[in-house]
């Protein structure tokens, strides 16, 4: 089997992370667009957008440039601003640079997919996108991510390169789901009244929309929206491809593949096991008793520790 440079493994990991991050930003914004249609008159749009900026860890940067969080400015900032390291523009720029550096580890379909996406987004200028065009641009971002992932799954050899890109993809996705949950964790806490009010339902659907879980929720639960279900759905349900449980299992099985190929277990594997244990030996009652926020913070911390372990075990540089 061909040897892989540590640098290549790192770049493949980050390439998939960047593409997944761009897609997640698109989903967050999609929920934001929806929200702005129904909540023009109250404060919740600004509140949502601000918490979204916080979830992406770019709120400080945003408010150094803008006074208030309105949809148009936040969308510009999150989609196209080259100064924002987490904007879709920056994600595709970084993804494309990584891809270009690792051209030989990519199939031509993967390379052409990411290169085309970069060339297309680089054409769109800040300030040119109207609110009316926003849904199209958001749809484009999701398509671009699907195009890359589709090319990857359809063409890449199932070797270590595949495993490292899958780990990057699902570490990023788990981080995103955990952050969205944490940004709204208080609306999910069990209360004396089991029936949510209008505001609760609006917040819950927002979480579901931002994680593409809105319609699949019904297929899974055959029930009205309930905070307990929503939290369980996005944390523990293994059939939900954005849940923490699904992502962690996927990361673990990708590490299993590497272990099989290399014939050696590493520290990264131990970290992945620990994360899966957080999710497998528990239920929602236990999580709520312990504290949802605390649980999510711990998960995010362990997810970061996994990345560090990966970097030292496989000589990322």
């Amino acid at each position: 089997m061909a040897m892989m440079l540590g640098r290549t493994a790192a770049n493949l990991f980050w390439l998939s992370r960047y593409v997944e991050r761009a897609e997640n930003i698109a989903r967050l914004l999609e929920a934001g667009v929806r929200m702005s249609l129904i909540s023009r008159r109250d404060q919740s749009e600004g509140e949502y957008l601000t918490s979204m900026l916080q979830a992406a860890a770019v709120a400080d940067l945003y408010f150094s440039k803008y006074e208030a969080a309105d949809l148009k400015s936040v969308a510009q900032f999150m989609l196209l601003d080259p100064d924002n390291p987490s904007s879709v523009y920056s994600c595709f720029r970084n993804a494309r640079t990584n891809a270009r550096t690792e051209r030989t580890a990519l199939t031509s379909d993967m390379w052409e997919g990411i290169n085309s996406s970069w060339l297309e987004i680089a054409e769109v200028r800040m300030g040119q996108v109207t609110e009316k065009q926003l849904p199209d641009l958001i749809a484009w971002v999701k398509q671009a991510s699907h195009r890359f992932r589709g090319a990857l799954l359809g063409t890449i050899l199932r070797n270590d390169g595949y495993a490292f890109s899958q780990i990057g993809n699902f570490v990023e996705r788990a981080d995103n789901t955990a952050r969205i949950l944490d940004m709204k964790y208080y609306v999910l806490l069990p209360r004396s009244s089991f029936v949510g009010g209008d505001v609760d339902i609006q917040q819950w659907t927002l979480i579901l929309r931002a994680t593409s879980a809105y319609s699949s929720y019904r297929h899974t639960y055959h029930d009205r929206f309930k905070a307990w279900n929503i939290a369980q759905y996005l944390i523990l349900r293994t059939e939900m491809p954005r849940s923490l449980a699904f992502c962690s299992r996927w990361v673990r099985s990708s590490l299993d593949l590497i272990d099989t190929l290399y014939g050696a277990r590493t520290d990264a594997h131990a970290r992945a096991e620990e994360m899966c244990e957080m999710l497998e030996g528990t239920d929602m009652d236990a999580i709520f008793r312990r504290g949802l926020h605390e649980y999510l913070v711990e998960f995010i911390g362990r997810n970061n520790a996994l990345t560090d372990a990966l970097a030292s075990s496989y000589d990322f540089y």
């Binding site: 061909a2 040897m3 892989m4 440079l5 540590g6 640098r7 493994a9 640079t97 270009r100 550096t101 051209r103 030989t104 031509s108 390379w111 052409e112 290169n115 085309s116 060339l119 270590d160 290399y262 050696a264 496989y314 000589d315 540089y317």
Partner: protein, 473 residues
Amino acid sequence: MTNADPFNEMLNADGSVREPYRVLSDWIGTQPENDLRKMSTDAEGIFRRLGITFAVYGQEEADERLIPFDVIPRIISAAEWRRLSKGIEQRVRALNAFLHDIYHRQEIVRAGKIPQKLIVQNEAFCPQMIGVEPVRGVYSHIIGVDIVRVGPDQFYVLEDNLRTPSGVSYMLQNREAMMTLAPDLFQKMRVAPVDTYPEDLRRTLQSVAPQGRELAPNIIVLTPGIHNSAYFEHSFLADQMGVQLCEGRDIFVEEAKVHMRTTRGPQRVDVIYRRIDDDFLDPLTFRPDSMLGVPGLFDAYRAGNVTLVNAPGTGIADDKAVYTYVPEIIDFYLGERPILQNVPTYNCTNDSERAYVLEHLPELVVKEVHGSGGYGMMVGPTASKAMHKEFAEKIKTRPDNYIVQPTLALSACPTFTRAGIAPRHVDLRPYVLVGDEIRITPGGLTRVALKKGSLVVNSSQGGGTKDTWVLED
């Protein structure tokens, strides 16, 4: 000789079509201009999507640019190609023998065929290579020979690029593009394939692995990185061969052996197709300020633990001053007459030749001995009077720094221009591989001067490329 009446590769003087171009000429006749225009646009789309770009140094904005591609292929008949490839093979055999001799006993100098000064005082001479024994005695494994055509049977070698010739990825991608853009035309002709190149390259590299490492050598391509103008080509070739593309930071030397940093720890490297210039290869042996190279690499090479392709120091054999001696070199090592001619070249250190040159500068081409890429040269007929004066002074001050040649009437091929199909001047760079055997890919890269009347085909000076079709019998 001037460019007043260049050889037209498609049309005879009486307007009739030369045989190799018959099918192409008929095809062009049936193509509406709009279709050709659409082909050109499509070609640009293909190249952009594939990321086939090059960087122009000193132009930040145009960080990545496309080399213009002309959709009309250039045709070479089977008989023409047989002669060309024989001539090329003869040249690369002689030049590799020359390199071995120069870094060993220097018999050719002892025999008085080449002045000693020209070798030992030459900047391209690499004293560190003296006494080194490369595998199979091959110094220059990967060569691009620049050839121009001035008549039906007259070809000149303009330059032997024996260091790190580039452009082969364009040869391969141009063919892919043409097969997509004009499948109907392609089917009508029997065109020799070029897609054998990556496998030939891999076999060549494998055949020069160090002793004891021949069975399954670990081959890598060493690139300066993504900011290098030819980065696309480096990654393309590594990909096509299925070998690792590395930068200096990816490999290191320990106990005179080369290793790369992998996810499973250090792995031995056996053959390095390096696209880094000699000066930057190893800061311990060459330029100490090089950030691109690998400390200790040259020691590992001298110890016979790794093969560098091409070997350091090959520049001495494609130096423009040594170039004038290639006929003697062929005679000395092979005892043969050159099949391909050199361009007649004036030696400015010779008083009478210099006097002639200074008299006739407006008709001549002046090239710096160590220049390349179209930089540091003057094309007399298109240069200003001030330029003539400037170069006259330069030649008087440092006659050994310049070679002077007549302005060649480069052959012209039909090319799609804004004004429709029109003849434009071309050259040809076939690619040669030297290892266990000599492999020459049929055709090569045709570069075309897109400006009307221009003779400068370099991509850095506004030149484009064409696919080159060698017909099979």
